[in-house]
């Protein structure tokens, strides 16, 4: 049997403003080590909301989230930050790099925070990741000197710096043209196949989804297919 790295148990989420609505309804599924999963569904069905919960950033929900065999219920903010730092890589639609730092430092920051390796080693590892994504030449540029596709690759490099258990992406290709989308997809595919990296990617791109191992389809806060 494959190793379960993430498990969602009866996750329910309400929003109370302007009125109480149930956005997620009894979400229950699990992810195994090395799986490349996509989440699809109509706009507003609760994909992003689910991803924020799974990434431990949103703690206001009912049900239980288990990451790497450990329940996230009742964990303090600082401990959750640690889990995010160590076990989860996040890639957003709008790349979200820190404009105050160059590309290299952006990739290094979560590694420096983790403190498992010395600054020198973290830098070495960051270069490795950048090389793998074909952007090592941009290492010393500032984020705003890069193209959209390049930025997204830097964000992926950053998500990889601590060798996370899983990479989560909220429409990471949503803002990219077809060519760049394909590049990003190929990178994910390569990570999944070559490095046995688990990935959970929200997408609107059905073509993209079709190429992943497993598709989770949502509708009105429920999983209708997985």
């Amino acid at each position: 049997m494959k190793n379960k790295i993430l498990e969602a148990k009866k996750i329910v989420k309400y929003f109370h403003d302007p009125m109480t609505i149930k956005v997620l309804n009894d979400i229950e599924f699990s992810i195994n080590q090395g799986e490349f999963i996509s989440i699809i569904g109509r706009s507003g069905c609760g994909k992003s909301t689910l991803l924020y919960i799974l990434s431990t950033m949103d703690t206001d929900y009912e049900g239980e989230l288990i990451i790497d065999g450990v329940s996230m219920s009742g964990k303090k903010e600082g401990d959750l930050a640690k889990v995010r730092n160590e076990k989860i890589g996040f890639v957003f639609q709008f790349h979200y790099l820190l404009n105050e730092f160059n590309v290299l430092k952006n990739v290094m920051l979560p590694g420096l925070k983790l403190g498992k390796f010395s600054a020198k080693e973290v830098e070495h590892r960051a270069y490795e990741k950048l090389r793998m994504l074909g952007i090592e030449n941009e290492a010393l540029k500032l984020p705003n000197q890069l193209s959209g596709g390049q930025k997204q690759r830097v964000a992926i490099a950053r998500s990889l710096i601590n060798d996370p258990l899983i990479i989560m992406g909220d429409e990471p290709t949503g803002n990219l043209d077809k060519k760049n989308s394909e590049i990003v997809f190929d990178i994910f595919q390569q990570l999944a196949i070559e490095f046995n990296q688990s990935l959970l990617i929200v997408t609107h791109d059905n073509e993209f989804a079709a190429k992943t191992n497993r598709i989770i389809e949502m509708e009105d806060g429920k999983i209708i297919r997985m």
Binding site: M57, R84, N85, Y96, L109, D170
Partner: protein
């Protein structure tokens, strides 16, 4: 999170808003500069004013006062011990203000290790004869060398030579005010009338100016021997023993001790000059209040800048949190920013404050009343710098406290959703 990482992130955020940071730091610099400048000057002024009085005042003065006998004859009767006594038949003896046993007391004081120096004195009432009128005044008979050693007397002798007072018999150093009224010049011979009605001629060898007009208008100095002759008393006649201690704060306790041992009146400097301490205290209080007010204003500046910076850096904070930085880490980053502003601003404030004090110290300040002062007084007390430094850090810490807390509470989900 390691300190170097905190500092490196704080530095990058600071650099991204360099101009505003500068403005905030300059605010701190300005207030610390003013704080140091003001305090150094005020305190210098305090020292000067205190010195005017305190340097010239003995820490303990031993003297005899004309006092009625404490025990009246009727008190000796037990029968009346519970009755009110209004029969005070024994009046003070003739005005004998001499300290008995001067020689013995002097020897005892010499042996006391707490005593820095002793200067005997004779107070003597006279009238200065100016033409047809007499000015009342007094002559202090002093031991010239002891007086100079303890009270820097020569600093106040503005004309003539102090040592002539010792070397020339029947000489006098006139108060500046007295000399002006008498139209006396150095070398002139003036005439005074003693309290016993005798006319004595004295040679003027100098003028002195204490800075206190009331004093300079009545006071003159002569040697002990001259004064004794003036009064027609024996060589052992002394009315005051002025004592300086190694530690001024012990004065009240030691005065009490002497009062009991030597059976004389003993007045300590704290009791004699309590009003000056009040004045100094108020001036110091004002300087601190102004300085700290300035710092608080600067603190609000920092508060504003940090709030702006946090508003500006919402996205960055959200990203830091999403990638595993905790609220505490973010809090630390912003506190570091605030403290750096305080540290850098405060450091330059201390430097400029010192420069400002040094400049004030150069400004000429000549006044009739203060012959020994040539420039504005400054006190370079290192404590001001320590307090200024600490306060700049404390203020900036508090200015950064709430913005940092706000930053640490930012919910990354809200920010990321908002894009």
């Amino acid at each position: 999170m390691s300190l170097s990482l905190t500092v490196s992130i704080a530095k990058s955020l600071l650099m991204a808003r360099f101009k505003q940071t500068m403005v905030a730091a300059v605010g701190v610099t300005f207030s610390i500069t003013m704080f140091i400048g003001l305090l150094s000057f005020m305190s210098g002024l305090n020292d000067l004013l205190d010195g005017l009085i305190l340097n010239r005042t003995p820490h303990i003065r031993l003297y005899n006062e004309v006092q009625p006998s404490k025990i009246q004859p009727i008190d000796r009767f037990k029968e009346f011990s519970h009755s009110h006594n209004f029969v005070n038949s024994v009046k003070p003896k003739s005005s004998k203000v001499e300290i008995y046993n001067y020689g013995a007391i002097y020897q005892a004081l010499k042996k006391d290790t707490r005593v820095l120096g002793i200067s005997p004195k004779i107070a003597c009432q006279v009238f200065y004869n100016v033409g047809a009128s007499d000015l009342s005044g007094n002559i202090n008979g002093i031991d010239v060398e002891a007086e100079n050693k303890l009270f820097s007397f020569s600093e106040y002798v503005v004309a003539g030579n102090l040592i002539d007072l010792k070397n020339t018999s029947n000489s006098i150093i006139l108060g500046k005010g007295v000399a002006e009224k008498m139209l006396a010049n150095i070398g002139d011979v003036i005439q005074v009338t003693t309290s016993k009605g005798e006319l004595v001629q004295l040679k003027v060898v100098g003028f002195f100016q204490s800075g206190l007009k009331d004093l300079d208008n009545v006071q003159s100095y002569a040697s002990i021997e001259t004064t004794q002759k003036l009064l027609g008393v024996s060589k052992s006649y002394i009315t005051d023993i002025q004592i300086k201690l190694n530690d001024m704060t012990l004065a009240p306790a030691i005065a009490k001790e002497y009062r009991e041992i030597f059976e004389v009146q003993a007045l300590d400097i704290q009791t004699a000059n309590s009003q000056f301490e009040t004045g100094s205290f108020v001036r110091t209080l004002i300087s601190y209040t102004v300085g700290i007010t300035l710092l608080i204003v600067a603190g609000f500046g920092i508060y504003n800048i940090l709030n702006m910076m946090i508003y500006d850096k919402m996205d960055s904070i959200a990203i830091l949190k999403a990638t595993g930085f905790s609220g505490k880490d973010v809090n630390r980053i912003f506190i570091t920013i605030a403290l750096s502003i305080g540290f850098i601003g405060g450091f330059f404030g201390l430097v400029f404050g010192f420069t400002m004090s040094a400049l004030i110290d150069q400004i000429p300040f000549n006044t009739e009343a203060l012959p020994t002062i040539k420039t504005y007084p400054i006190n370079y007390n290192p404590n001001f710098y320590i307090i200024g430094g600490i306060f700049s850090l404390i203020t900036t810490y508090f200015a950064g406290y709430f913005p940092s807390r706000k930053a640490s509470k930012i919910d990354p989900v809200i920010i990321i959703r908002g894009k």
